[in-house]
């Protein structure tokens, strides 16, 4: 087999030095009852050609050749060629977590750059080396707020991604962390700050707000931060569309930022792998979950980097750790780092303006249902979203998300997203099919 680099002679030679008769005798150490006495019911090994062919066929069973206006937490952005060139380097692809600093400076240096860029984008002072994704970063941020404040309750905006809220519920259930939702204003699509004010109390550890929120609306973060801080709670700022950070004011008033970087050169890949982040203020550094890289010196006095503050983590603190997270999304975070290097300061802004412009071209002609400013997603009133989407599919277009699926009160509404990848001709088709004004 091509992945097993030994000849039969070599195996026999090795067995002989150990005084073992045959390969099969290697399983003698298993209790008889625990031995599998038949071959696995899995087809024999396939050639490279057959494997490529199989997955190509599966790919063809999916939506190839369609334009898409889906966003809702997963965005269709261009991936510069450079990202795959870099992440395909063996030294990044096939290395482990950089515990041995002397032979891991490549990964460590890059993570340090990643942490720095996340801080620059979010207005925070400390960022970790990545979480699984945005949806698991949010509950980890809530747990962090509970540890910091010594309080238990989490208030979460109903306009946070619905699946993120579901994940938060799962995480919180057995940790003595009650989770309560607060609403959004039906006219603006922004959070209902009065509802939040009515619910926040002296046991509230965290207020979680997403911006742009699930409806694409940009929230007024300063206002929420003031309210949360007045009540001694922390503000957790969540985001799913990272490109928005290139244009929008950073959430510096927040205490913790938890978000998803999929927009930064990470293909939608049917929902993963993505990369989440948690960033916070320096004073909370000991409560951040996940790996952190720090700057230091080597024995020759040269700048070097290493994993640091590991005592927060499970492999040392075990049941008292800040989280059970071990594996993270390092290679995906590398994709994001390369992407941000390629676009840089001006590019990210220009890209964000293109997203804004495209979405507004579409939004101006379809009449958003909410009045708050939006970035690259908006909610349109469409009497029968399912029917409309069927019609679009006929024109080789995947339409928007039928919001009735997550918000019964928003049946008859569709969440549409346009990015730099959306072509005017396709948008015109959408406008035409959805009965917008051209």
């Amino acid at each position: 087999m091509r992945y097993l680099p030994k000849s039969t002679d070599e195996r026999n030679e090795m067995l002989a030095t150990m005084g073992v008769q045959s390969m099969d005798d290697l399983v003698a150490q298993l209790p008889n009852a625990a031995r599998l006495k038949r071959p696995l019911d899995i087809a024999p090994g396939k050639s490279e050609f057959e494997i490529v062919d199989y997955f190509r066929a599966r790919g063809n069973d999916c939506a190839t050749g369609y334009a898409s206006f889906l966003g809702a937490g997963v965005y269709n952005h261009y991936r510069p060629v450079m990202t795959d060139v870099i992440v395909s380097r063996s030294e990044f692809l096939t290395s482990y977590t950089p515990y041995q600093a002397e032979i891991s400076q490549g990964t460590l240096t890059q993570i340090f750059e990643f942490q720095t860029m996340v801080c620059q984008l979010t207005g925070m002072e400390v960022a970790n080396a990545s979480m699984y994704d945005g949806s698991s970063a949010v509950p980890e941020a809530a747990m962090m707020a509970v540890r910091i404040t010594g309080r238990s309750k989490t208030l979460v905006a109903r306009s946070l991604h619905p699946e993120y809220r579901e994940v938060l519920t799962t995480y919180a259930r057995h940790q003595g962390m009650p989770v309560e939702e607060f609403g959004y204003q039906p006219e603006t699509g922004r959070i209902d700050i009065d509802d939040l004010a009515a619910r926040i109390d002296s046991d509230t550890a965290a207020v979680i707000v997403q911006s742009p929120n699930f409806f694409g609306c940009v929230e007024r973060i300063q206002e929420v931060a003031e309210l949360a801080h007045r009540k001694g709670a922390l503000l957790v700022f969540a985001f799913t569309e990272a490109v928005s950070l290139g244009l929008l004011e950073p959430p510096s008033e927040a205490d913790i930022v938890a978000g998803e970087l999929q927009s930064f050169a990470i293909s939608p890949s049917y929902g993963g792998p993505f990369a989440g982040i948690i960033a916070t203020k320096e004073k909370f550094i000991r409560q951040i979950p996940g790996r952190l890289v720090g700057e230091t010196r080597d024995a020759n006095g040269n700048r070097a980097f290493c994993l640091t503050l590991s005592t927060r983590e499970q492999h040392i603190r075990r049941e008292k750790a800040t989280s059970n997270i071990c594996t993270n999304q390092a290679l995906i975070a590398l994709m994001a780092t390369v992407y941000l290097s390629v676009f840089g300061k001006e590019g990210l802004r220009e890209l964000a303006i293109q997203n804004l412009s495209k979405a507004h071209y579409l939004g101006d002609r379809l009449l958003p249902a909410f009045s708050a400013p939006y970035f690259n997603e908006f909610v349109a009133t469409i009497p029968d979203p399912a029917e409309a989407n069927r019609a679009l599919l006929g024109r080789k277009i995947v339409g928007g998300l039928d919001l009735g699926r997550f918000y019964p009160e928003l049946a008859g509404h569709m969440l549409l997203c346009a990015t730099e990848m959306s072509k005017k001709t396709d948008m015109d088709t959408v406008i035409d099919v959805l009965g917008g004004k051209s």
Binding site: S310, I316, R317, K320
Partner: protein, 124 residues
């Protein structure tokens, strides 16, 4: 090495009693076992601990050790200097105190080890 005026625990804390105040630290032996100390987690002023309860922790790069209260009491003062200079615990463990407490039951001190007993205990 181990001052006579201190009393010691088997968990390697020392306490010095002056009036109704107990000053608490970790021993030379403790710091040498831990290696380079990089962080000290101390309680808030006003917190109360029973004898034997965990009131904080000290960390090296790859280990965390809880610190146990040698005596019951209320925290009066914490040694803020350790936040920015945890290495003091390595350099002068018997000067770099962690917390001062108001003793709740001064009699507890009698249960602790003398300097001589502690040195026998650690085999020094």
């Amino acid at each position: 090495m181990y001052p006579e005026k201190f009393r010691y625990t088997k968990e390697h804390e020392w306490v010095q009693v002056e009036g109704s105040t107990g000053t608490i630290g970790i021993t030379h032996h403790a710091q040498s076992e831990l290696g380079d100390i990089v962080y000290v987690d101390l309680p808030k002023i006003g917190a109360k601990y029973a004898q034997g309860a965990t009131f904080g922790s000290v960390e090296s790069v790859k280990a965390v050790s809880d610190i146990y209260a040698p005596v019951s009491g209320e925290v009066l003062e914490i040694n803020d200097a350790l936040a920015t200079a945890p290495e003091k615990l390595n350099q002068e463990p018997h000067d770099a105190w962690l917390i001062k407490v108001k003793l709740e039951s001064p009699g507890e001190i009698e249960q602790l080890l003398s300097a001589a007993d502690y040195q026998t205990y650690i085999g020094a």
